[in-house]
Symmetry: C2
Subunit: 157 residues, 2 copies
């Protein structure tokens, strides 16, 4: 994954730091972000907010919002990214939520993931629906989140 | 990895919850713990305490201890596991620290990892030295931590 090495290299050169919050991927996104030697210079830390309780306790996502969507929505991905950025005091933060297996929401498909990247100017989000088994959804979603970070830092603001 | 499925199944049946704190593996250990469908019933959350700052801020590991060992020691692995257990209010917690690439400590080899599992009775730890490249060290260490959890819950106390 050439993009990943380039991303870590770019962040190092620009002296930018990053942090993460993920549920559906369970740590795989952070594993990717720390795969490259030298990533300790840019990656400050990550939160695996796998349960609604952890989303609420660690990042103050309102329970009302969590109950309505089981923690999976565009809005929640944005809140997670913004608050993770504050939590770790980093320049950027990435978040990833979704359903890798059965969702309890009737109007949402298995494989639906929402991701967001926050920086000092705000946040961008992406929704994708990934076809495949549980492990494929988790890995593909993580790679997609890396691509969203690359997109965000490549966009002049 | 049959052990992993058995572990999640066992924890579900026994209604036991688990959480994690990892640095060297960067999320891979938590990714494994959440790989099996149904893991959301047992895995509450994880912390990727990749930087000394995050170990100090999230789990109150004293800076003096961190500076002396770069965050890699048996003692730190025990503290991380015990405090993660408190942090997420889970029955068990697992921690993993180590050096996947160059360590700055002169008396410690690349591939050295310390892991710990805490429960209400205390904690057990393990130190191993893994030979291989960065990615292999991270993955092998994570699998080893899973085995330590299995060992802990299989030991009658």
């Amino acid at each position: 994954m050439a993009k990943l090495k380039n991303l870590v290299f770019y962040l190092r050169v620009k002296k930018l730091t990053i942090s993460s919050a993920e549920s559906v991927s369970g740590g795989y996104l952070s594993y990717l972000l720390t795969k490259t030697p030298g990533s300790s210079k840019v990656f400050r830390g990550g939160l695996i907010v796998y349960s609604p309780q952890s989303k609420n306790k660690l990042l103050r996502i309102p329970n009302q919002l969590l109950n309505k969507t089981q923690g999976v929505s565009e809005n929640i991905s944005i809140l997670l990214a913004k608050r993770t950025k504050q939590f770790f005091k980093t320049d950027l933060a990435v978040s990833l939520v979704g359903f890798a297996s059965t969702p309890a929401q009737k109007d949402i498909k298995v494989g639906t993931v929402f991701m967001a990247v926050a920086d000092r100017k705000g946040a961008i989000t992406k929704k994708i629906i990934i076809k495949g088994n549980r492990d494929y959804v988790r890995k593909k979603a993580s790679i997609s989140a890396i691509e969203l970070i690359c997109k965000r830092i490549a966009t002049p603001r």
